[in-house]
Symmetry: C2
Subunit: 117 residues, 2 copies
């Protein structure tokens, strides 16, 4: 699309637009904000992260806790691993997961505060 034609130029508040633009986060930061939000945009993942914020748990614990298949949990954990939100350690056959990012809990808390309204 042609961004000069979004509307008649006289109607754009050019000064305000430029001012906001100069304060805007760079695209990479915006993308990272969107990406971590995307992670929290699924109830299963929110539950997993909240659970792990309280206790280190194995895949099996999480599956039991959430009443979901071990495969579904494992898929979600992979996502959380790939985005460095959780870490894990192996103990025999069992793999224990725990949080590796403190921001996530703040985000969940603010989301919860937002929910109470």
């Amino acid at each position: 699309m042609d961004r000069d034609d979004v509307c008649e130029i006289e109607h754009v508040n050019e000064k305000a637009v430029q001012e906001v633009k100069s304060n805007m986060f760079d695209d990479q930061t915006i993308l990272k904000i969107a990406n971590i939000s995307k992670i929290l945009g699924d109830a299963t993942r929110v539950k997993i992260l909240f659970a792990l914020s309280q206790k280190e748990l194995c895949v099996c614990d999480l599956a039991s806790l959430l009443g979901m298949s071990q495969s579904a949990i494992s898929h979600q954990l992979r996502l959380l691993r790939n985005t460095n939100l959780v870490k894990f350690r192996r103990e025999g056959k069992v793999v224990y997961y725990s949080l590796s990012d403190e921001h996530v809990i703040k985000l969940i808390e603010i989301g919860a505060a937002h929910a109470q309204e």
Copy 2:
């Protein structure tokens, strides 16, 4: 699926699971957390919300600022309206949008802090 069969019962740390479960947010709260996160899970919407946190802007301003079609912006604004994250006022032909939820900015700020790593 059968949640009793996710794994051998003896291997679930039942006590830990129960403890976490008792502290877990209720499903409705979890859903609201996920839903507001979903909103922030898109770069266009993050930009819109961040822009509106600084200045009241019209649809046309936002389209110009983001270099996107006015229709695309309008669709996103509808979403933000429906979730009560923005409010608007009409002035003649022009509709001005502004933020109506303070939590959103905190979420974006924490997301940005997370991005700086």
